[in-house]
Structure formats: structure tokens, C-alpha cells
Symmetry: C4
Subunit: 284 residues, 4 copies
């Protein structure tokens, strides 16, 4: 096994001690970078500890850059990684700091680093934990289309009610234009209710009442869909297998091997070749 | 097949390439008209691009007028279309612009065009997609009466609590009259909580607490009804047929034929005559 | 059948044309009285139409007084009616107007008339409609105790978090005392969020975040209970009887007879004697 | 049975009349202490009745101190009680008052006494009542992990959206720093919506719309999980036993015996020795 395979195993997998250590360090670095960006955004804190924050951020940036380079050289097809979702995020979380040396103002882009938090899901394999026996995932998948159409209906209702409210309340009560009126309508339908804009005329308040009761009534629909689909998903695989047995069956995929060629991650335990691209997987 | 049948097929159906193209153009025109109305309502935008907006709107209005005339002449009983729900909306979305030439101020009515968005449901046949196997539609139908009575109970509670809050808080704290007090009560019960009016006396805050906990407790009821009815609807048709098979059975109706006489839309695939009025359907 | 029995049948039952007419007139009178009280509370309206409102209210008050007297004399045990829930409300909705002749200021009590709205449920027999096959009623009954304990837990959490927020935020940020702080906490936990009080210190906002996420998580519990109990209630009576058959079985009680002695209302259709007190029921 | 065993039975158990009386007095004392702390926090009330409040509080404090000492001496291993969860709370609810004699300012800590409210659950054995047949407890236990991961996802989404809103809205619209922006994002996602901070730019309002619709859509997930798990928990033990029978089986544990050695509370009815530490339980 060459050094590139070794590096790939450390960075992309978590079956070896080195791989686990790498994941833990990466996790800490990501969280630290988020905390740094947050602290820096607090003016009183930034003016006090500017030098400390700046140095810490350079350290994090260099670490992320090294990780980015290591990820590129350890993969067989670097282009695939560079243009993958995580590849772009990894790039965007290092570059702004370098550009800020030349151009002022681009520094704010460093906040894009928050997107790296998404990698936490990958590291902790949370998605898998969540859907231990895939019930929830199946329920959400089954409800997705229905909820999307439902939310689309909510949007159309918001446009119609928003336009009506604009005509009823007018500019003097904060409904300065239709987009703002639609925004208010969504704020109300979703029961958020900021109160930055609120109807002032009796007719406007009456229509607002209808919108709110509508919102109250329809919040039941997506909830009903998810819970019914989840109940269904839970029942359908009760085909004689206990939850334990199902877990064992599914744990076949629960090793952390990751193909160096196509970055596919859900391999069988004894697999010697990637089931997707046929590339050889490495073993100790 | 005469030109009127041809026109009917293009406008009301979507099985031919021309029919599909018409639907797509109509969809774009509706969305464009909504965007135009929105942009026009933004003052800063309107003063800058007034001429552009005005011309665009005349184009849209003329297109809609042509469509309206085409719809009337291609149908056998135009009166039926003119006084149908969509017929009235189509009329209301063209007329205000013409009246605005003579009378000022009626221009605001152009916002009624937002109601044309409802046609999006028809074009995309969303309602059918939503209830692929009609489970959700059945669940909502089964819960409708119960949720209506439930919302009625919420309304009565709002009137009673609203009156109490008016007596407790009085005009100095924003509860200037009972209708406003009832409005506040609905805002609170539905957990929207704008905060434009908020209780200021300790007793008023205590009653508000009761209203909120009540609202929190009863939000569970409609949700419970919908999810239980949906579960029930999903279970009852598990009569040996898989979801796939049910879909096939239902897709019998999934062609887009529309009777030129009575505008009925849910015909069987091989149907030669309208099942509702007996009028001959046309085929290629 | 004496005139008292006749009067009882008209006022308390709805099987005869006269009884139905009485119910409809009562319904209209109640709604009219509510609208009157509401209009009177609007200052601008009251100053304009004061005489009209005053006269209308006297008419309603006299009608309600006559109804109250009729109810008392047509019942065998007037004391029972007078001290029943509805008896007290009926009394409270007439008396304040008379007192307002002698004492000023008591007029506001007339708003108590809103409580008469509860009789709408009785007139429309809504409760029965709601629970056609009693599923919902059973589900709510089964969940009541659990939801009560749950709401009690929410209350205790509010007291504890409210006290903590009072210590953290202090008087300068609107948390002037612990009861107000607890009130804010309930406003937040129930996701109402008026915004009349809002945390201003970073620590306070952090604790608020915990409260909100907690509130978001626990809103699932009562909903879950109701929907599960409702599903259960719907399933348990699936003992070979269709919903139609169950309705027929239950409609045995759906006549409107009301015992003149104990005011019990759920009699069997052919019943000659009240099942509760043994008093003879009248028939045409 | 020595006086220490007797004391243990009175304080920790509720099977004897003396034990029940002790529990009721304790319950009243806790509620009184909470009311006292609340009243004291209201400035106008505190200045008026300062002496009365101070004396009442000293009485409560001395009662709690006596109870604390009694709890220590009646238990075989006092250390275990002192460092138990309730032991620490009991200590914290007496000490601040004594310290306030020497040090000023520590008085505010007396509000920690609100935590004693948690003992209400123990006294009323509410937790047991709640989960009569343990369905709800099981449902919550089964959903806990999934809801936790779900809330974690909500948190990550809040950090990402919060950062974006900070970049879009900036300091001039109240989004002064990223932590505050994240706080706003959680306020919005949970549909609380205080309105102390609200987006002012069109782009910010557009992103807020996405966040709200997202929050509206995902509120369905935890609810769906709990209700499905609860339905499942209710169904799985339908193994021929009625709810009544299950209650009888479970009531085996429903005596209030409490081991004087290890404070374990769920003993069988006829148990002579603690099942956990083997220590002899006392009987009358």
C-alpha cells in the first residue's frame, strides 16, 4: 500500500486509529473555526483580541489548506473531488482569507466556513444513526413530494393573500409593496409572527384572522403526513425480523471504507472492489 | 375536426405538442404577470422603470385578453365558462387595465391577477400529483367537518376570552375595543403572537398565560385528526394491491382530455363520449 | 299536555316546528347581542349611534329576560336550572343592564353576555356532530390526564426557567419580577413570542435558545398523544360494523328530548321515562 | 424499629398517615416558598410588606433546614443523599438565606429554590401517573435519540443561516454579530418570532421566508416521530392483556417504600430486602 493509499485511508476512512484521530482533529478544527468566526463578528471582542483572533485564524486556514491539498493528492480523480459539494465548500473556507491579504472587504466571505459544519454529519455518520433502520428516512422520502406540493400551495396562498393585504392596508400601515406583503403573509401563515409589520385597519385584522386560522388548520397536514408515513414505514418491515436483526443486516454497510476513485461510501464489509466503479478497495 | 375543436384541444388539453406548448407559455405569462404586479408595487422601482412596466403590462393584458376570447369561442357553451370560477378570474385579470384608461384609481385592482396563480394547479395537475392514490385527499375530506367544528370552537373561545381581556386590560393597554381584543386573542391562540398588542397588567398576563397554554394544548387536536385519518386512509386500501398497481388503475384517468361542452376533465383513456353530458370527445 | 309542558317542549327541545323556530330565533338573538356588545365597545361607533345601540340592547335584554323567566317556569325544579352552568350565564347576561340604570360603571359587565355563545354548541348540537362516532371524544378523554400532567410539567419548567431568566436578565431588560419572567417563559415555550419582552444579554439569549428548542421539541408530545389515541379509538371499534352502522346505533340518542325535571338530554328514542330521575317524558 | 427508621419512614415514604401528612406539609411549604420568592421580586410589593416577607422567608428557611438535617440523619449513608441531585437542590435552597446575613447580594440566589419544585413530581408520583402503562415513557425513550439528532440538525442549519443573515443584513438592521444572528435564526425556525430583530432588506426577508417555510415543514418531523412511536408502543403490548390487567401487574411497584441505604424506590410490594443493595426494608 503506497503513501497515497495510506493518506486516503487516514483522511477518508475511520477504521484505523490514525483515521479516527484525523476525524477527531478535523471535528475540533471545524468547531474552533466556527467559534473564531463568531467571536470575530462581535465588535467589542474583536477590537480587544484582534491579534489573537487573526493569528488563530491563519493557523486554522493553513490547516484547512493542508487538508484540502491532502484530499486532492490522495484521491485518484482529483477533479471529481474538487467539483463535488464538499470539495467546493472546502475550497471556499480557505480561499477568502488569502484574498483578504490583497483585497479588503472580501474578509466577510470567511463566514462561508459555517458551511463546513455540514461535514460534521459525515464525520459523526449522524445520518446513519438517525435512520438506524431507515424508517425515518423512508418516511421523509415518502412524504417529500406531498409536503413540497403542500408548501407550494402555501406559497400561492401567500401571494394571493399578500396582494389582498397590500390593497387593504396600503403603504401607511407598513405594507409598502406586494413582496413585503407576501413576506408578512408567510410570517403569519407559519405562525412565526414577528410583529415588525402588523395590520392596523379593522378589515386588515379580519383578513389576518382568516390567514392565522388557516395557518393553524393547515399546520396539521404536513405533520399528519410525516407521522402516518413513519407509522407505515415502521409497520411494513415487521416481517418477522426484530429491530436487532434488521440492524445487523444493515450494519453490513457500516464500515467506513471510501473508494479512492469515485468517493462512494456504502460498501459491503468484505468488499474487495468498489461496487460502483470497479476500482480496488484497500485492506490492511 | 374543425378549427374550433383544434383550438379547444390546444387550450384545454395537453396531449398534443401544441397543447403542451400553450400550457407552458400560459404558465410563463402568469408568472411574469405576477412578477410585474409585484415590481410595480415597489415605488422606487416603479418610478425608475415606469414605461417599461407599463408596456410589459399592456402586452400581458392583450395576451390574456386573446386567451380569454379564444377560451370563449372554442367552448360549445361559452356562458358556462364565463360564469365558472376560472372564467370570472380570467375576466377580472384583464378588465381592470382597460378601465384604468378611463378611470384612475381602479389600477390597484390589477393585483387581482394574483388569483390566476390558482390556474397553476390546473396546468401542473398538482392536485392529482398530490393525492396520487387519493390518500391525502380522503384524509382531508374525512377530517374537514371535524376540523371545521374545532375551528368554530376556537372562534367562540376567542370571542369569550377577547371580551374578558377587554374588560381586564382596557383601552389604555391597546385593547381599544372588543373586536380588536378578539383579534389579539386569535393571534395568541394560534401561537402567531405579533406583539403589536400585548397585555400589560398582571391579571391580563395571567389570563394570556391560560390562553397560550390552551392554544398549545389544542393545536394537538387537528394534527391528531389529520394524521389518524391519513393513517386510516393509507391502511384501508391495502387490499392486496401494491401502490404501483393502484397507480396504474388510477392512471386510467390521467389523460388531459377536457369536454368541450361541460368542461369535465376526468375521462377514461379510451372514452369516446363525455361520461357527464354525452357530448362526443375528439381524438387525433 | 299543559301549557308548561308545551313551553318546556318549545324551549328545551327541537323536535317540533315551534321548538326549531325558538332555537333559530335564540341563535340569532345571541349572535345579535354579541355584535351589539362589540359595536358598543368601538368608541367612534358608540358616539355616532349611541341611541340606536342603547335601544337595541334594551330589546335584547328584555327578550333574554323573558326567555330566562320562561325557562324557570317551564322546568319542574327551577332551583336546579337557576344554579346550573347555563342558568347562571343566562342570569348574568340580563342583570348588568338593569343594574346599570342605578349604578354607573357596571355596564362593562354586559360583556359577560359573550358566555352565552356557549349555548350555540347546545343549539347546534355541535358536540354530537363533532364526535359522530365518538372517536374524537374518546381520544381526547383518553389523552386528557396525560396532557394535563404534561402541561403541569411545562408550568414547572416555566417557573424554573423564569426564575433563572430573572436572575440573568434583571430589571433593566424588562424582566422586572419573577411572575413577569415566568409569563415571558410561557410566551416563549408555547412559541407565541409576543416580543414585548425579549432577552438582551448574550447569556439570556443563549438560555432563551434552550427554552425555544425545548418548546419546539415538546410540542410534539401532546400532538403525538392525541393522534395515537385517536388512531387507537378509530381502530378498536372496527369490530365488523361499518361507520354507517355505528352511526345508526348511536342515533338512538339523537332526538332532542330533555327531561323537565333534571334537564338530562341523552334519552333513547322510544323512552317514556327519564333514565336518570324516572320523571315521565312527554310525547306528541 | 428505632427512631431513625421511624423518621425515615415519615420523610421518605407515604404509606403511613404521618408520612402522608409530612408529604402534604412539604408540598405546601415548597409552593409557599415559591410564592414568597415571586412576591419578593415585585418591587412595589417588597417595599410595602418587607418585614412580613422577610419573617416568612426565615420561617420557611428554618423549616427547610430542619427537613434537610432530618433527611441526613435518617438515612444510613448521608453522603449519598448529600451529593444526590435532590440533596444538592435541598442544600442550595437553604444556604443562600444564611449567607445573606453576612454577605449582601447573594440573596438573589434564593431564587434557586424554584428548583425544589421538581420534588413536586416525586411527592405526587406524577411521573408514574403519566406513564400509567409506560407507553408514553417508552415512546419518548424510543424517539429521544432521533429527536436529539434532529435538533442537532436544526442547530447546524441555524448556524449556517445565521451566518448568511449576518452577511446579508449587517449591523445596521440589528444583526450586530453572528451569535445574535444565530439566536434570531433559532427564534424564527422554532416559529417563536419575538420581532426584537427582524430582517429589513428585501434579500434578508427572502431568506427569512425560506427559513420560516423550512421551520414550518420540519416541525412535522419530531411530532411524526413521537406519535408514530407512541402508536407503536400502544400496539406492541396488546398481547391479550387489557389495560386494567397491565395496571395491576405494574401496581406491584406502586407502594412508596424507599430504601434507607441507597434511596432506591421501586420495590415489590412484599419485598423484605432492597433488591439493589440487600439492605433490610422496614415494615409495620
Amino acid at each position: 500500500m503506497g503513501w497515497r493509499e495510506k493518506l486516503h485511508e487516514i483522511i477518508y476512512e475511520a477504521d484505523t486509529p490514525a483515521g479516527k484521530l484525523f476525524d477527531i482533529i478535523l471535528l475540533i478544527a471545524i468547531l474552533a473555526s466556527i467559534v473564531l468566526v463568531m467571536l470575530e463578528s462581535i465588535n467589542s471582542f474583536d477590537t480587544k483580541y484582534h491579534t489573537f483572533l487573526n493569528i488563530s485564524e491563519w493557523i486554522i486556514t493553513i490547516l484547512f489548506t493542508l487538508e484540502y491539498i491532502a484530499r486532492i493528492i490522495s484521491v485518484k480523480k482529483p477533479i471529481r473531488y474538487i467539483f463535488s459539494f464538499y470539495g467546493i465548500i472546502d475550497f471556499l473556507s480557505t480561499v477568502p482569507k488569502y484574498i483578504s491579504l490583497i483585497l479588503a472587504g472580501t474578509h466577510a466571505l470567511i463566514a462561508l466556513r459555517a458551511l463546513r459544519l455540514l461535514r460534521v454529519f459525515r464525520i459523526l455518520k449522524l445520518a446513519r444513526y438517525l435512520g438506524a433502520s431507515n424508517h425515518l428516512a423512508n418516511a421523509i422520502k415518502a412524504s417529500r413530494a406531498k409536503i413540497a406540493v403542500f408548501l407550494f400551495a402555501v406559497l400561492i396562498a401567500s401571494v394571493i393573500f399578500g396582494t389582498i393585504m397590500y390593497m387593504v392596508e396600503g403603504e401607511e400601515n407598513g405594507f409598502t409593496n406586494i413582496p413585503k406583503s407576501v413576506y408578512w403573509c408567510i410570517v403569519t401563515l407559519t405562525t412565526v409572527g414577528f410583529g415588525d409589520i402588523a395590520p392596523a385597519t379593522p378589515l386588515g385584522q379580519f383578513i389576518a384572522t382568516i390567514i392565522m386560522i388557516l395557518g393553524y388548520g393547515i399546520i396539521a397536514v404536513p405533520t399528519g403526513i410525516v407521522s402516518a408515513e413513519y407509522t407505515k414505514a415502521t409497520n411494513t418491515d415487521d416481517n418477522g425480523l426484530s429491530d436487532e436483526e434488521i440492524n445487523i443486516l444493515e450494519e453490513v454497510h457500516l464500515n467506513t471504507q471510501c473508494c479512492a476513485n469515485c468517493l462512494e461510501e456504502t460498501h459491503r464489509d468484505g468488499a474487495e472492489y468498489c461496487f460502483k466503479c470497479g476500482c480496488k478497495l484497500h485492506h490492511d
